[in-house]
């Protein structure tokens, strides 16, 4: 075997080992519950504001827009008529509820995904990036085993609401990758002179003045302009530097391998300042602006930033096992290895 082939085999084996890692199902279960609530909220507010027939039903049935045949599922069902659209609304809400309860989690996520897709793509003018963030999360929940614990199916299977059954870790990692992709990509597209260094960092001040998104009159923010400048600079730097979180995951994937960079990343744990800034940003957005379920959906992804062990430790307010010096990985009942970090 040539040296090149040997390196390729070694890399492949490491890749397979990485994807074979398993962990407790708590993190993915919490993500499932949060995203299920987001599905209920996203569709539920449209129902609550009496908008289903206005936004998602064709003009020929008293909707406001000509919607054509609609996305493939709507077209297959007969087009955007009240009966088809309301059936999809009810089905999607039922799927969202099933996700929260943890009944047939994968199937529920798939039904919710197709329902949200069909409804929101009926009228793309009346939607935003939060729809894409939601459907991406739902697809990850179809791929991952999110019903292993904290679910009705767990209760029916074991007689308890929680279970120690392990699940593959990679769907949670993909959720983190998705979060970072959204942040980094929007940060890199913020090329306005009002955002980038060298200008006066007035982007957030002016964004808060846009009637489309503000909750109420925001002229009072002029008195707090320096604070908005700091927030603008921080937001831009935070979004552009968000891929640093992935480096933290890289370091935590194999903490025993050592090295100065890995050691530094393990000590710093960039996830904490990253999550603190993100939380402050999204809560401010929630209070000052109306951008729909964007903050709720995005913050749901934050649950995937920590391993189930770390989440449990956070819940108990004590130092997580993964923050201790690295220990050799323990074999799991399935034969693959569990891993405490990242």
């Amino acid at each position: 075997m040539s040296a090149g082939n040997g390196w390729a085999m070694s890399a492949w084996n490491r890749w397979v080992a990485l994807l074979s890692r398993r962990e407790a199902g708590t993190g993915l279960a919490l993500f499932r519950i949060a995203i299920g609530l987001c599905v209920l909220g996203t569709i539920g507010t449209v129902v609550g504001h009496d908008l289903v027939g206005v936004l998602w039903v064709d003009r020929s049935h008293d909707g406001y827009r000509t919607l054509g045949a609609g996305p493939w599922l709507v077209a297959l069902l007969g087009g955007p008529t009240p009966r088809v659209v309301w059936s999809l609304v009810v089905l999607t809400l039922a799927a969202g509820l099933a996700m929260v309860l943890g009944m047939g989690a994968r199937l529920a996520a798939l039904v919710a995904l197709q329902g949200v897709l069909a409804l929101t793509w009926l009228n793309p003018h009346a939607g935003g990036s939060y729809d894409d963030l939601l459907t991406n999360a739902l697809w990850l929940l179809v791929l991952g085993d999110a019903g292993a614990t904290l679910s009705l199916s767990c209760r029916l299977r074991t007689g308890r609401w929680t279970s120690d059954r392990t699940v593959p870790a990679w769907p949670r990692w993909l959720a983190v990758l998705q979060l970072i992709l959204a942040y980094a990509s929007t940060g890199m597209q913020k090329l306005s002179v009002y955002w980038v260094p060298g200008g006066d960092f007035s982007a957030l001040y002016y964004i808060l003045q846009q009637p489309s998104w503000q909750r109420t009159d925001m002229r009072w923010v002029a008195d707090w302009f320096p604070l908005t400048q700091v927030a603008t600079a921080l937001t831009w730097a935070w979004e552009v530097s968000s891929p640093l979180v992935l480096l933290t995951f890289w370091a935590r994937a194999d903490p025993a391998r050592g090295g100065r960079l890995r050691g530094l990343l393990l000590r710093l744990d960039y996830r904490r300042p990253f999550a603190l800034v993100g939380l402050a940003m999204h809560l401010s957005t929630l209070v000052l602006m109306n951008v729909g379920p964007f903050s709720a959906i995005t913050l749901s992804y934050y649950l995937c930033l920590w391993s189930p062990d770390e989440l449990a430790a956070l819940g108990r307010l004590r130092r997580p096992a993964s923050a201790m010096p690295p220990r050799p990985a323990q074999p799991s009942p399935s034969g693959s290895t569990t891993h405490p970090g990242g």
Partner: protein, 194 residues
Amino acid sequence: MQRASWQDPTVQDELAAWDARLVHLGLHLDPAELEDRLWVLARGYTHVRNRVLAPLQPYYRILGTNQSWRMFVAPHRYPARLHISVEEGGSWREVYVARDPQLDWLGPQLDHDRFRSALFRYAWPSYGKAWSELCEWISRQAARDFPQARRVRLRFWKARTPSPQKARQGIEPPGRWVRARTLDLEPLRPAAAP
């Protein structure tokens, strides 16, 4: 991507600001030349991107894995605010002004985030058909809710956002009405009984 949208004063302001910054860095370009070059660059990039991603489109479409994250990439310096008025007894009366809690006819619907998203788009020139259809839908609601009204008028007030200094001084920059539509309500009502 539409060249007409680049004529919006918000986009023109951005181009002028970048032109000034490039001049400061020693790169002297006429603003029109900068715009032309950026347009060619943006079109080329979009064309290549679309070609590369074309095979993946079915995956995005069927599984909802679209990756488009243009979120607040630039503030809209000339935002638009929707005003709706009805004509009653020969004079116009405002019944809805976006974000005005006193004038909130249809507020529960028009203030929902999904309608905000649509209305943000409809102040731009490239959404003419959808804007006309929305105006017709709103006129049907007005014919029902304002039985004495003869006409309904919908338009956006487009004005430059005041700088913090001007906002503190209470100075409102001048603006103009855009995308104005006036619709008769009488034809939308059932014929009066004999």
